[in-house]
């Protein structure tokens, strides 16, 4: 099984090398889709293996550099699923960009190389044994996505890229400082310097870590990974970057990258909680979670740009995820993971649909887009299904996850948090329904442009709709995986 862990990293790297060699071709773009699918397939294989009681829940690979457990496998499933949809849609997206002279052969080649590199970095982040290597991989995603965000090179795209790189690099540098401090306390607790940052070693020594320095480290790690996960106070890059990036890139950044950064936080939380008790990070996560939800709900309410609206919806969901992590019970963590998966697929749907709307109207203003359901049933349905998932309508999976998170909050005695969360979710719900219905329903304006749907985008959208439905009707096979991830992260039952 150890060799399987190399696949999610090496397959995208190979695809990147291939794209670098031959440029943007039909073949190289489908090789990337295949690589993303390989990430998904590895996730499935490992999930089945773990369910069969493999290696007491932890698989090592590549010496001891890589390590997979239920959390890594869950994240691989998210990366693989959304990655496959996004790279598939990229085929038609980039072809259309080339056709309309929004990019050239060099730009397309760059896109073809960076997209799989981005996937490889995320896979490494969730599979690294050492939280130091995990940090390196997460910082590498910033570098890989910088020119993806600024792919169009317009003034707005350059501005968004600059803010993204600066804010995320500084934020993630704080996480590095936190990691260095953890290394220091780990050595002091008797760990050997070569593996003092390994997850299992840190977990084993957690109770002997010096509390004062660990507290400092925990604060820095929360701020640092919180930046990359789009949490307050360093959330300001998010809407700019997600609104300027090409649609498939937005789908990946919003649906996966935020969650990968948050999974890093869950990882260190399991260690910090053992060292300091659950109270310290719970307080921190509650404060940033509610603040993030508040900012997102307010900005959703006044939003006039649909891509920014989707970005703030991501912030809203990361706020909910942070609150669930604060609750920290088995129910809450398992629900959080379902939430992350459902969010990833839904965000792929809405961003990919939004990309086609933007291309057709040459605008991202909500008021410019009307009657989408009648003008393009496929784009309209995909956007509607994505929104329905995001606002938590049954039968979709977020209805179940939000219900479970609410129950977990009530059981954990966090009634006031539950109240605040529900209130803010209702505000966001109202904003998304109002804006969504304005775009989707009603008669189209006379003179509305035709909405083109390249075949690969159509394929990805249909697959996404089907996945959302399946995930909503039955998340059954995944429940055990989520449960064991929760136990592994030290959740109380």
């Amino acid at each position: 099984m150890g060799l399987a862990l190399l696949v999610p990293i090496l397959a995208p790297l190979a695809a990147a090398a291939f794209a670098a060699a031959v440029g943007w071709r039909r073949l190289s773009s489908y090789v990337t889709v295949l690589a993303a699918f390989a990430v998904l397939a590895t996730g499935v294989v490992l999930a089945v293996g773990l369910a069969a009681g493999l290696d007491s829940g932890v698989v090592h690979g590549a010496g001891s550099l890589l390590r997979a457990d239920a959390l890594s496998v869950t994240m691989l499933l998210v990366i693989g699923t959304v990655g496959t949809l996004a790279t598939w849609a990229s085929v038609g997206y980039i072809d259309a960009e080339l056709e309309h002279d929004h990019t050239d052969a060099t730009g397309a080649r760059l896109y073809g190389v960076l997209m799989p590199l981005f996937l490889a970095a995320m896979a490494l982040a969730v599979l690294a044994t050492s939280i130091g290597v995990m940090w390196v991989a997460i910082e590498a995603t910033t570098v890989a996505t910088a020119f993806l965000v600024g792919h169009r090179r317009t003034r707005a795209a350059v501005e968004a890229t600059w803010k993204y790189v600066i804010i995320c690099s500084v934020g993630i540098a704080l996480a590095l400082l936190g990691t260095v401090l953890l290394y220091f306390v780990s050595i002091h607790a008797g760990a050997v310097s070569g593996d003092a940052l390994d997850i299992d070693v840190l977990l084993a020594h957690a109770s002997e870590l010096d509390p004062a320095v660990t507290r400092l480290a925990a604060g820095l790690l929360l701020l640092g990974y919180g930046t990359k996960a789009g949490l307050v106070p360093f959330h300001t890059w998010l809407a700019d970057a997600h609104s300027q990036a090409p649609a498939p890139v937005s789908a990946l950044m919003s649906g996966v990258l935020l969650s990968v950064a948050f999974s890093a936080l869950l990882r260190v939380k399991s260690i910090i909680d053992l060292a300091l008790g659950t109270g310290f990070l719970r307080a921190g996560l509650l404060v940033v979670g509610i603040a993030t939800l508040l900012v997102a709900a307010c900005l959703l309410f006044v939003q006039t740009d649909f891509k920014r609206m989707l970005a703030y919806s991501s912030m809203e969901n990361m706020g909910i995820v942070a609150i669930a992590a604060a609750a920290g019970t088995e129910l809450a963590i398992a629900a959080l993971l379902l939430h992350v998966l459902a969010h990833g697929v839904a965000k792929a749907l809405v961003f990919l649909a939004a990309g086609q709307l933007q291309a057709a109207h040459d605008s991202t203003a909500i008021r410019d887009v009307t009657g989408v359901l009648t003008r393009s049933p496929l784009i309209g349905t995909a956007f509607a299904v994505g929104l329905a998932v995001l606002i938590g309508l049954p039968p979709f999976a977020m209805f179940a996850s939000e219900l479970s998170i609410s129950r977990a909050l009530a059981q954990a005695g966090l009634g006031w948090v539950l109240g605040a969360m529900l209130l803010l979710i209702v505000v966001a719900f109202a904003a998304l329904v109002r804006n969504g219905s304005r775009m989707l329903l009603g008669p189209p304006d006379p003179g509305s442009p035709a909405i083109a749907v390249p075949r690969s985008v159509a394929g990805a959208l249909v697959a996404g709709v089907v996945l959302s439905l399946v995930l909503g009707v039955t998340a059954g096979p995944l429940t055990d995986l989520f449960r064991s991830a929760a136990t592994l992260l030290g959740a109380s039952s």
Partner: protein, 220 residues
């Protein structure tokens, strides 16, 4: 190397490290700022170098040489190339905070760094750990430079200074993190600086300058 020489050189290196950060706050000429950053990189590289000489170990010396090439050579050269040849682009624009106030804030940040690092020194009170407040001060000063400067290049310098401060902390408290993390982090910083350099070029083409005040198209 005797213990006395070792601590003497260590204190000198850490002092130079902090001083270069203060001078960066003081100067407005972008090329001078980049030169100061190179000196800071050299002071940083001294830390593993003298440790390697003191303990008679090869790995810290190798790390020190890599750091010297990267932080005192390659990165400053990359940044210097991003400084435009036009006169108006060579200096920091009118600062948001004037020089006197900036230096006073810097002094306050140094005091703050001493307060924040007390638990670290308490855990392991050795000669090297006692120098940690200086490294933390550089981190805080770097963040201040990033929020108070208006040129793209100054922000890039601030980012590198931040990273220098973190690397110095790692050496002072734990003789550096594992090699794979150290190399990975250095690679990331190198790429980030390359990205920032290329972006400065794009910015100059799109906006006609690198004043960050021009970045105001995106907002809510």
């Amino acid at each position: 190397m005797t213990m006395a020489t070792y601590t003497g050189v260590l204190d000198l290196a850490v002092g130079a490290f902090l001083l270069s950060a203060i001078l960066i706050v003081w100067r407005r000429d972008l090329r001078a700022i980049v030169r100061l950053l190179a000196w800071q990189g050299a002071a940083l590289a001294t830390l593993p170098l003298i440790e390697g000489l003191h303990e008679r170990e090869l790995e810290p010396i190798a790390v020190g040489v890599v750091l010297l090439v990267l932080r005192a050579g390659v990165l400053p050269v990359l940044l210097a190339r991003a400084v435009s040849t036009e006169d108006t682009e060579r200096r920091e624009s009118t600062p948001l905070v004037n020089t006197t106030a900036s230096l006073l804030i810097t002094a306050a940040l140094i005091v703050l760094a001493y307060a924040v690092t007390r638990p670290i020194i308490a855990l392991n009170p050795t000669e090297t750990t006692r120098a940690v407040p200086a490294a933390f001060a550089v981190i805080l000063i770097a963040v201040f430079v990033m929020v108070s400067r208006r040129r793209a290049l100054s922000q890039a310098v601030g980012f590198l200074m931040l990273d220098n401060g973190i690397t110095a902390t790692a050496f002072l408290i734990a003789s550096g993190v594992p090699l794979i993390v150290e190399l990975g982090a250095s690679m990331d910083v190198l790429f980030a600086v390359v990205v920032l350099g290329l972006l400065t070029g794009h910015m100059r083409r799109a906006f006609g300058g690198t004043d960050l005040d021009q970045l105001r198209e995106l907002h809510d």
